[in-house]
C-alpha cells in the first residue's frame, strides 16, 4: 500500500526512472526498507495500467524509461495524503500474544519472562539511540525521525510490561473473561 503511494509521491516531486524511484524510496526510509527493483517495475506497470502514471518520451529500454504522474495519479495521491490513518491499531509484535498467554499459563515464570523481554527492549532502545545519534551526525534527518518514532513505540511497550509486572497475578487474568 505505502509503496504504491510512495512511488506516486516521489513522482510528484519530479519524473523519475525506475531505479531512481527505488533509490529515493529507500533513502527516504533511511535504509530500513529495501525494495527490489522488480517490485518497483511491477508497481510502475500497475500504476501505468490504472492510468496513475505514464512514461515520458520514447518507450524503449525499460530501465531507462522516465515516468511522470498523471492528473489521476495526482488526485489519487492527494486523496491518500488527506485521508487520516484511522484504522485499528496494529500490534505486530509477538510479545502481545506471548505475554497475554503467559499471564494464564506461565505461573511463576511470568516475572522472568518480563525481565528477559524488558532487557531485550532496553537493548533495542540503546541500539535506536545510537542509530539516531549517527543519523543526526550524518545529516540523515528522515532516518532520525523514523528512529524517534521507534524509540517512543518501544518506550510504550516497556511501560506496558511494567504495568503487567506490577499486577498481582493469580487466576484473575483468566477468570475475568
Amino acid at each position: 500500500m505505502s509503496l504504491k503511494y510512495g512511488v506516486l509521491g516521489l513522482l510528484k516531486v519530479e519524473p523519475l526512472h525506475g531505479y531512481e524511484v527505488k533509490n529515493r524510496f529507500e533513502a527516504m526510509l533511511g535504509g530500513t526498507w529495501e525494495v527490489n527493483i522488480g517490485q518497483i517495475y511491477t508497481t510502475l506497470q500497475r500504476l501505468e495500467r490504472d492510468g496513475l502514471v505514464r512514461p515520458v518520451g520514447e518507450r524503449g529500454d525499460r530501465g531507462k524509461l522516465l515516468y511522470e504522474l498523471s492528473s489521476e495519479g495526482k488526485k489519487a495521491l492527494d486523496d491518500w495524503l488527506a485521508q487520516p490513518d484511522s484504522g485499528p491499531q496494529q500490534l505486530h509484535e509477538d510479545i502481545y500474544v506471548k505475554l497475554l498467554l503467559a499471564t494464564r499459563i506461565a505461573n511463576g515464570d511470568l516475572q522472568q519472562m518480563l525481565a528477559r523481554q524488558k532487557r531485550a527492549f532496553l537493548q533495542r532502545l540503546r541500539d535506536l539511540n545510537r542509530l539516531e545519534e549517527k543519523a543526526r551526525r550524518d545529516g540523515r534527518i528522515d532516518l532520525a525521525r523514523l528512529v524517534r518514532g521507534a524509540l517512543l513505540h518501544t518506550e510504550a511497550d516497556l511501560k506496558w510490561m511494567d504495568e503487567l509486572a506490577s499486577e498481582h497475578f493469580g487466576t484473575e487474568g483468566a477468570a475475568a473473561e
Binding site: G30, G31, T32, W33, D127, L128, A150
Partner: protein, 265 residues
Amino acid sequence: MNSISPNLVALARSGLVRLTDVTKVYQGGITGALDGVSITVEKGEFTAIMGPSGSGKSTMLNLVAGLDRPTSGTIVVGGTDLSKLGEAGLARFRRDHIGFVFQFFYLLPNLTALENVLIPAQLKGNMATGRGRELLEQLGIPDVADKYPARLSGGQQQRVAIARALINNPTLLLADEPTGALDTHSGEQVMELLGGLHRGGQTILLVTHDAKLATRNAARVISVMDGKIVDDARLESPERAPSEVIRVRSEETPPAGARRAPETK
C-alpha cells in the same frame, strides 16, 4: 610482581561503589525500603537505576551518598566503609567525594547561580571562582553566572545544580531524576551533558523513569522492585545498520521469515 598482581586484580574488581546485602527500614515503615541489595559499580561506569515509584531508588542513592545510614549491610565507596564514619566524617565524605543532582534543583534563591555553584568549594575553604565560571561555561550557560535562580529556566537551573555537584571533582556523581521536572528538550540537553561528563571519565549513578534517555548513555540498567534488584542488564553498543534496528512493515513486504536472513543464519 607475582605477589602484587593478584592484589591489583582484586582492587580493580572491588569496584568504586560496593553495596553488600544492604537493607533499609525507615522508622514507622512496615516493610523495608531496601531489602538485601548487593551491587558493585566500577569506576567510569554510567549506571541507570529504574523501577516503579516507591521501589527504593532514592533510598539507594541517599545511602550511597552518605545522607542516611542503612539498617544493615555495608556500603563502601572509593575504599571507604561508610559505617566506619561518624557524622563529621560522613559530612566530609559527602563534600569530598559525592556530587548530587536532584529533580527539583534545590538552588538557594538568595544566591546567584555562580554563588550557588561555589557553596561546596567554600565548605572546603576554596574560593574556586575560576573553576565555577569554567563549569558554567562547559555546561553552556556562562551568561547566567550573576543571575538569581528565579530568573532561570528549569533547564538552566538544573545545569547550575550540575555545576555545583561537580565543583569539588566528586568521585561519584549521583543524579535522582535530574530530567524529571524538565520538558523533553531540556531533559535531552541535561542528559547529553551527563553523557559528556561520562565520556570524560565521570562515574555516574542515575535514577530515571525515562528508559529512552537512560539508554542513551548508560550501558548498564539496574531494575529495582519492592526494594530488591530484579535485573541488572549490561547493554551492548555495536554499530548496527538501520535495517538491523528498524523495519518498516507493509502488506506488500514478503513474510518476515524471508527477510530475517541476518538473524536466523
